[in-house]
Every structure is written in structure tokens, then in C-alpha cells.
Assembly symmetry: D2
Homo-oligomer: 350 residues x 4
Amino acid sequence: MSAKIPVTILGATGTVGQKFVRLLADHPQFEIASVAASAQSAGKRYGDIVRWREGTPLPERVAAMTVTRAEPGIPGRIAFSAIEADIAGEVEQAFARAGVYVVTNTKTHRMDPDVPLLIPEVNPDHLGLLEGQQRKHGWTGGIVANPNCSTAGLVLGVAPLERAFGIEKLFVATMQAVSGAGYPGVASLDALGNVIPHIGGEEEKMEQETRKIFGTMSPGGVREAAIGVSAHTNRVPVIDGHLEVVSLGFGRRVSPEEAIAAIQAYRAPAEVAALHSTPALPVEYDARPDRPQSRLDIERGNGMTVTVGRVRPCPLLDLRLVLLSHNTIRGAAGAAVQNAELLVARGLVR
Amino acid sequence: MSAKIPVTILGATGTVGQKFVRLLADHPQFEIASVAASAQSAGKRYGDIVRWREGTPLPERVAAMTVTRAEPGIPGRIAFSAIEADIAGEVEQAFARAGVYVVTNTKTHRMDPDVPLLIPEVNPDHLGLLEGQQRKHGWTGGIVANPNCSTAGLVLGVAPLERAFGIEKLFVATMQAVSGAGYPGVASLDALGNVIPHIGGEEEKMEQETRKIFGTMSPGGVREAAIGVSAHTNRVPVIDGHLEVVSLGFGRRVSPEEAIAAIQAYRAPAEVAALHSTPALPVEYDARPDRPQSRLDIERGNGMTVTVGRVRPCPLLDLRLVLLSHNTIRGAAGAAVQNAELLVARGLVR
Amino acid sequence: MSAKIPVTILGATGTVGQKFVRLLADHPQFEIASVAASAQSAGKRYGDIVRWREGTPLPERVAAMTVTRAEPGIPGRIAFSAIEADIAGEVEQAFARAGVYVVTNTKTHRMDPDVPLLIPEVNPDHLGLLEGQQRKHGWTGGIVANPNCSTAGLVLGVAPLERAFGIEKLFVATMQAVSGAGYPGVASLDALGNVIPHIGGEEEKMEQETRKIFGTMSPGGVREAAIGVSAHTNRVPVIDGHLEVVSLGFGRRVSPEEAIAAIQAYRAPAEVAALHSTPALPVEYDARPDRPQSRLDIERGNGMTVTVGRVRPCPLLDLRLVLLSHNTIRGAAGAAVQNAELLVARGLVR
Amino acid sequence: MSAKIPVTILGATGTVGQKFVRLLADHPQFEIASVAASAQSAGKRYGDIVRWREGTPLPERVAAMTVTRAEPGIPGRIAFSAIEADIAGEVEQAFARAGVYVVTNTKTHRMDPDVPLLIPEVNPDHLGLLEGQQRKHGWTGGIVANPNCSTAGLVLGVAPLERAFGIEKLFVATMQAVSGAGYPGVASLDALGNVIPHIGGEEEKMEQETRKIFGTMSPGGVREAAIGVSAHTNRVPVIDGHLEVVSLGFGRRVSPEEAIAAIQAYRAPAEVAALHSTPALPVEYDARPDRPQSRLDIERGNGMTVTVGRVRPCPLLDLRLVLLSHNTIRGAAGAAVQNAELLVARGLVR
């Protein structure tokens, strides 16, 4: 038998669930021990009911697994959750109560005061919330969330500048891929040759989550960062990759050269750099005048690197820039896997 | 014979030139008297050398015309110019010197202090620059420019708010159609499923032109408006239609309701409203939460209406909104035709 | 009050239903008297529940109408049906029984032996089936169907050659627009940058319907044409327009020149040519080597003209060609409207 | 120093040239010793002039190389040629004369009677032409061509059926990716939301090359196969991947089950199966009703596997099917690399 940590995937048949299957199939530390989905899928062979849409073949071992209901007791010491938001509350809490660590991509618990909203490179200390979370609820497991896809790229992409200079104001306009809406998601009649300047709830998520992730751990919990954030979110006809244009204001004047130097010097903390999913460069600067581009640059660092380009002065704030992230890897499944790796590194899961 | 005003089209074979042909083919006041293009096209039948890409058929009368060189002396009391920027300076000045009014879509003269950068609904008084222009150069004709495509939609779309409340700060991110780059323009390998976060010179144009158009006529010329503008320009895989997301700061707090009311009350001055190309609503507010959309809303007012939607508070400035314009009509050929109509209405061309 | 014929639209909220609303809003002979949809929509204001997606604004008069159930007794002497196939059988028959002529775009009755599968330019004599249809069922109304979208373009496009030379064998491969699948229809994750080589039931429809439409009226009904048809149907990322590549075999050698001459000489019968929706050229030949193209050529004849190009020899059969039709006009709503116009011209509806 | 065979790339800056760089950068047998391009690029650093568009980073070692002219004498015992067709004749012959084996993706020499048009899995015996080629021209090197991209997928995809049953007639309609046209290639205004039913010279290539590749080696050269081929070639808005729908006629009735069994049993000859670039399954059958799809299935076998699906009866010939291949790997650079590997395996290059 394997010495890997057995894990389960909640919501294993959806878009993000499939990405979990793919990322975990060959993971050095984790082994898929069960796949859970809705009641009507339970009891069926995973390979028979999943509408597999990843570019690589469905791993045969997983295809042969019988889908279970998403209920505590199924094999797995970590639960990767891509479960639907309307039922995620109860289900994820039930797993945490049963001693399982839930690393969730679902929005439900993200803004809970005692749930870490985690980007390992940025705020690994927020894991400290878990102790209070367990005490308060009497859980032996816990819940750790990763941010919304558009927030993940934004926060990691500007993290070198926040760390170096302190961000006070942030404008962001996104051009988001259709894969962010799941499957079937956006109708082709809406997507082809079109821009939809509205994604329900997305702007609020970006504004709130950014302040929480950049917040400071204190005895009473996370004190939100005092960053003013204004987000304009848009859907564009791109398969994968959220491109975001950003204007930033700092407490003092920051030149493009200083900013680029800060980005280029940025590295994950040693503990995080050692994780399997952490790329060599969490943030990479591309000096070419027309980069990053959605289709060409999303695969860097196996989809975990955020690419930043076009750092230049802003006539209204201090700097403008462009950033790009892979929305279903750095912005979803890859983020949760990395979060789980940090839980293991910290000894919370063995 | 027709009592219409004979006009010429400079650069008649390109994308904008073709749009001029289409818009002028059935115009009630203008009649195409000549079509001009590069030296190697001169002498050939227009229908034989144009790679016609408009959705409606090439008018037979124009197809049969012989292409001339772009030199003064060719028939036409107005010259619609879509000529390339690197030669537009000399050519357009030669026509003005020869007594022709040049309404140009080319960037070359836009920021010249004595050239009106005209949106008839917004700054018709800037036509007053023509007198000084003629005096200075000793011309009997003149040059009138329309703004860059992304500026045209922006300025007209926020004009109701500028007029009602006075704009101090403006942040804009564009998602621009490929037709704005002409033909062949953007390679399909760059456009398909991609976003290109860079359009050469576009951000500077938006920032400068906006201040000039909203500027005040004074004895010494146009005094630029004191509006801080920060533009992020992007190319998206859309055929026609520039969608722009905007944050606005005013001298005082403005509520979304006030702003929407100002947009809905906005009308062109009577003189301009009477022009053939001026739409009933130069700016139309769409209250649906996910509109305007590039593919669905560009044809309003025959492509001359700017649609505004999603007026809502901005966490950093005062308001956020979305606006959409047809980049090759309101942003190019249609704009020039409307400018020419205003010249006729003013009696400058007979 | 209007002297127009009152009509109803069954399934008025869907994609084809909306196209009916648009085409009938300004029709010289018809006036929308009611709009019918599913039970849960009945009683509501049409403008409140329709997710209007046409490029032109929703007519205010129709927006204000109250949606009714699709049951006989609602105002309208003709019923334009875009109702879903699984309930169309009963509903359409009920209207026919109640004396209403149903012109349907739904597939349910297309292959019924006593239902005309009508393309007015091609087989207007098939309307002769109506007498037997009424006698058999005891109806005072009747049912007339138009073909499937991909069949409509194919049959009309090759009709000049069938009439002139007689087709024996026909290969066709289609590249069909996503609008053919309705809304939401094809997911953008399936459509963007992709080809889907399968459209359920489409190949069988093309093979069967072609033989029926080209069939001969006889006392016992329509005798199917003895044409061998092999269809390969594919979905491509195009909004509107079905492009089809075709190889044809005739009883004798036919040269490209003969075929082009036959296409250029093709006209609708006088009775059909006089209908409002019949274009001047039902089939138009475009001699340019790279035409027709989906995006550039679908609007000819207000979407009712089929464009043919690239007639050239076929190494296996006799000729190859390309044809293009507007799938939601000539292939759906426009076809039904034209069918209704023929019913009126024949005096069947007054 | 490396024991790898030094190779050169002719036309190294273009789309296919870049793919060569990527495929050869980590090749176990080959090492890029020089990169050649046009005279105006010669002398410059490759990394400075290439507009790198591969998804993986440009290898630093290659970026640092100085571009040379495409003239014999530059380092490399094999020349991978992606040189433009109008100059390929002279250049490739000069290299062959100088003792270099040229594996070319350019069309110029494909139909030369003494040049092998090679797909290693299908006609490795055609390498026998090289002896006569060398004798005739007095060369110590030689020229080996791979087929046009649309032919490569077609021929390999139907090779199992040709081998098992013998093909007599073949009808094919292609839906080809824009990358097949190079860069900048197809304009986005032509590609977006459109189908272009014409690719210059492509149909003739498919018809001729298919017969040559399936031809029989005889003392006098290759005797072309007596297969009737009718091709309809189309460009669709897809980045990579040529999807082709095919009808096939054999000398006898072949059932879909027999055909599928033949495809599933198909393997490369042992000598070819051992090559680095040969995939485990050169042709893979996918039984799902809507596969293969361009975007989802091109990466199989690292882009060297042709996927076949939807084998079903054809009403006119015997069988219909769908096949998909990666046009820039199996259809271009990958094909040439595999050809070079066969030359090495045969001991022609050491």
C-alpha cells in the first residue's frame, strides 16, 4: 500500500472537481481515496458519469472508483471541496466536525472570521485562525478556503508591491475566461465575439477578499487591510486565464523601476517555497510591451505563476500594470492543493 | 444632375474608407464624386482593387469609379480622409490649401491647437477654431478631426455627466474590437481566445484627446479641461464594438440616480440634433444588469448611439459605469460624416 | 383597426420565437395578435419574461402583450410554431383541428406523409397535400412545415441544379452556427476555438428531408426523390450562418459553366416571387474564389438568399460547390413566414 | 561535449521553425548546432529577433545563438527545413549536395518522383527512393519531405483501413486551424466567427499527396495508388488542430465493426515504433459519439496521434468517419523530426 495521505474530492464531477482529479492523480503526497458527488451520482462508476473535459486522459484508477455521497465517513483525511455553494456550508462543516481538514474552493466560508482565506505565499500566518476555529466549534478537523479566482491572481500579483510599499488604493478591471463559470456555464451565444460586463457577485468578492488576505493576524483574528479596492469585472471569449489591468496607489511615490525590482526579488517564504505546487517564481515579470497575454502566458509554473507586465506610471494613482493568472489552477484547484500541502508541512495533517 | 454636395474619399480602399463609401452611398446631402488611394491603385477601377468587406454590397456606381491619386483638384468640396497617418499631414494640408474642407479620421492633426477635435453633440463650438486656422495658414478650406475610436465612445458616453456635474478624475479600461486595427490588422493567432493588453499609443490618445474635447473655447484657442485620465487599453476577440469600464470622480458626491437622470435627459443641441447622422439618443441608458454587451448593443442609432449601463457607486471615486460604442461608425467614419454635416449646417460648405 | 391577418406565435420566448416577433412586427400582411408560451410564463408580460437577444429593440406593442398558454382559442388565424418538439405534436394538431393554419419550424410533423415540407421556391405544389390532410383528420386548419435549418440551405442552394440536371448523389459536410442549437444551447467551453463533429439527429434529417422536398406530388402523396445523400454535420464557433460543402453527381456530365448558368438563371415561380419574403435572387452565385463566407454573406436578401460559390469539378462525382444560408431566417423563422405568405396567396387563409 | 547529432534549422524564426526549436531542444538524439534564417536576420541573436509564440519558454541556449544564413557549411548533419517555398528548391538542394540530409516541411520537393513523401508508420519503404535520388543528382546527402498538414492527418488516420481493406474512393472535408497558415497568416477580421471555404492549393495537395504516400515502391519509383480523392478544404476559427470528415469506399463492403477493429489493431512497424517521436498509438479510436474535438483531443501522443471517431455507414460509399490531427506537430515539425529519427535508425545519418 501507498504511504500517501488518502484524500477525498467533494463535487468531483464538476469542472473544478475534474481539475482536482487531474492534479491529484500523480501527486507525491496525496492519493485519491474516494470521489463524492450528488445523491443521484452516488453508487455509479466515476468514469461512467463524469463528462471529462481535461486535456489529459481520465486516470483509469479514478475512472473505476464508485462515486459516494458527500458525507463524513468516506475515506480521506483531507477533503478537497468543489461542492456547490448552496450546500457547501453544512457539508463542509460536517467533515470538519468529523476530523477532516477541508480545503475548499467554494465561496461559502471564505469570509467567515475564523476561516483562513489562504494564499500560501502571501498570508501563511492566517493558518493560525484554525486553532480558534477548532476551539469555537469543537472540531478536530477544520476549514481552509482559497480565494475567488479573480482575487487569487490579483492578490498574488500585487503582493510584492504590497509587501514592499504598502498599497492604499487599487483599481482593477478584469477580463475573465469562460472556464471560471463552470460547465455548461456561459452560453456560446453570449460568449462568442462578445464581452459581458457583469459577473454576479464578483466585484464584491474581489473587494472584500483582497482586504482579508492582506489583513494582519491579531489575537482577535484577522484585521482587514485598509486598502480601497474598486473592481470592474468582465467576461471575455477566452477559455482559460484571467487578465487584469490594475492601477495602484501607495503611501509614497513608487517608480516603475522600484516596483519591477520588488516583483523580481519576490520569493515565497522558505516553508512555502518547499511545497510541491509552489512555483519557482510565484510572480514573474515579463518586460515585453504586449505581455502577458491570456493564451500565451497562463501555463507558467504549471499554472501557478502569476505573470505581471507593463508596470508604468498612472496619471491618477502611482502605477499601472497588467497581470495574468490561470483561473482554474492558481485560481481554484491548484490553490486548494497547495493549501493542503501547507497543512501537511505544518503537521496539521499526517 | 444631383444637387448634392460632391465629396471625395481619401484612402478609399481601406477599412474606414470602405465604411465611408457605405455611409455616403445613400447620403441625403453628399454624393461621392471621386475615390482616392495610393499611387499604385490610381487609374484602376475601384471595384477591381477594393477588398470589400462591408456586409452590404458595394454600390455599383462607386465600383465603377476610377481611383485617383489623393491630390487636390479631384472632384469634391469635402474630403473624407482615412489616409495613412504617415502621409496624412501633407496631403490633408494640401487639400485645405486648395479650398477643400477635410474631415479626417486620421490621427495626424487631432492635437494641433488650431484643429477642432469634434464631437458635434459635445463641443460644436470648437468649430470656432477654423477661422484662426484659415487665417494662420492662409487656407480657404480647413481641417476638422474626429477623435480616436476609443476616445469617441468614452467622451460622448460620459458627456452627460461632465455637463451636469463636472468630471475631475476618470479611470478607464477598454476592451476593443479587432476592426479598430484595420485590415489585415491583428493576426488571428493573436486574437483568437486571447486578450492583448497593449495597443500602441492608444492610452496617450485617450488621455490627451479627452482633455481637448472637453476643453473650453477661449480667444487663444481651446483651454484643455483639467481632468485626470488614466487609461488601460486592451484588444479582445470581438469584431466591432469598444466596451469600456469607467470610474469617475466629480467635484461633489453624485448618486447613481442623479447620474442616470442626467444621462436620460441628455440631448444634442438643436442644431446638432437636426443633422442626418445624429441619433435620437446620442447616449442611451440600459438598466439591465448585464448590458451593454459588445455584440448585442452596437447597432443602436445606426451605430451612432453610445450605450451606458451599470451606473453604480465606486469605492474609490464616485461612480462606476460601463459604456459601449461602435468603433468604426461612432468611432470613425460615422463621426466624420456627422462632422461634415455640421460644416454644411453652419454654411461653411455649400 | 388593422386589416392585417391576426397571427399567434407558439413558443414565443425562445430563440426562434423571438425571430418570429422581429420578422412579424412590421409585416405588411400579418399582425401579432397573441404570444403563447409555457404554462409558467402564461399571464405574464412578454417584455418582462423574454430574454430578448435580437439586435433590434423589442417592439413595444409586443413587449406589452400578456403571454397566453398555447391552446386553441387564442387570437390568430395563423399560428407560427417554434414550440418544443416533445409537445408540438398535440399542440399543433389541436390548433389545426380548431381551424388554424400552423406553419411550424418544429421537427415533429416534418416527415408526416400528409404534411407539406415546404420551400416555396422549390416545391409549392406540395401544398396540395393539405386537402388530404384536412380530409383525413377532419381539420378545417392544417399544418405546413419548413425544413431543418441545414436542409433548407442545402435544398434551395442545389435546387437550380436539381431542376436543370437531376441530382443522383449528394455528399454534404456542414459547418453550422451555434444559433442553430437555440439558447443557452451550446456551452461556450464547447464552442470556443473548437469544432464539434456531431449534431444529434441532424444527418438523418438532412438525408430524409432532402428526398421529401425534391419528391414528386402524386395522387397518393409525395413520392420521394431517388437521391443518395450522405451528410456529415459539424458545429463551428460561428454565431449565424450554416456553410456547407457539397459534391454532386448527376445523370450526365455537367460542366461548372453549365451549373453556374443554371444557378444564375434560377428564379422563383411568379406566384412565389411575389411574396413579401421572397428575395429577388433566392440563390445567388458569387464568383470570388473564397466566397461565400459565414460572417460576410448571410444577410443577402434579408437572410433569405442562399449564396453559392466555388462551383468546380469533383474528382469523384461531377461537381463540387460551397453554399451558405442564414440558419435562423432562411432556415427557421423566415422560412415559416414565407410559407404563411404562400398560404395567403393561395387563398387558404384570409 | 554531447554525443548527439548536430542539426540545423532552416527558417528558424517562423512558426514551424519555432516548433522545431521547441521539439529539438530536449531531443535525446539531436542537438541544435545552428539556426538559419533570411539574410537580414543573419548575424543577430536568435532571441532578439524571434517573435517567440510557443507556450513554453524559449530555451536559453538557443536564444543565445547567432542566426546564420541558410547556406551549406553551417554546423549540422541534418537540416530541418521550414524555409519558404519560393527559395526552398535551391537552398535544400545545396544542402543535399553538400552531404546534409534535409528533412523538409516545405512543399517544394514533395511531389518530386525521387523524393520520399514520408510518414514513417505508413510508407517507410519509400526511403528506398533516396538511393536513386543520390545517384541521379550526385548527392551525398538527400531530401526527405513530410506531407502537407491536412494530408498527414488524413493519410495516417485512414492508413489502418487502407492496409486492411484497400481504399478506392475518399471524400474529405476539412476544418483547419489558423496556425496552418503561419504568422501573421489569417487576419482576425477573416477568422473570428467565420468560415473561409478556400485554402489556396490545399485541395490539390491532399488529392495528389495521398496517392503518392499510399503508392507502391517499384524499381522505377513510387507507383501512385489508384485512389479517387475529392477534398473540400475550409478554414475555421480554431488555433491548432485539423478536423476532417471522411467518407470511404472500399473494394468490398466493410462494416463499422471491422473498421474499428482494424483501427484498434493498428501499430507502427517495430522499427518505427521504436523511434522517439512515434506515439504508442499512431491512430487511436475514440468511441464517444461527439469526439474527436479540435480543442480537446489534439495533444494525444504529444500531438503525434491521430484520433478517429464516429465510424459509421455511409449512404453513398461504405463508411463515414471523423479524424483529427495536430497540424503543427503531426502535420509539420513533429513529422519532420520523426522522419529524421528514421534516417538515423536506418544508419543514413550518424
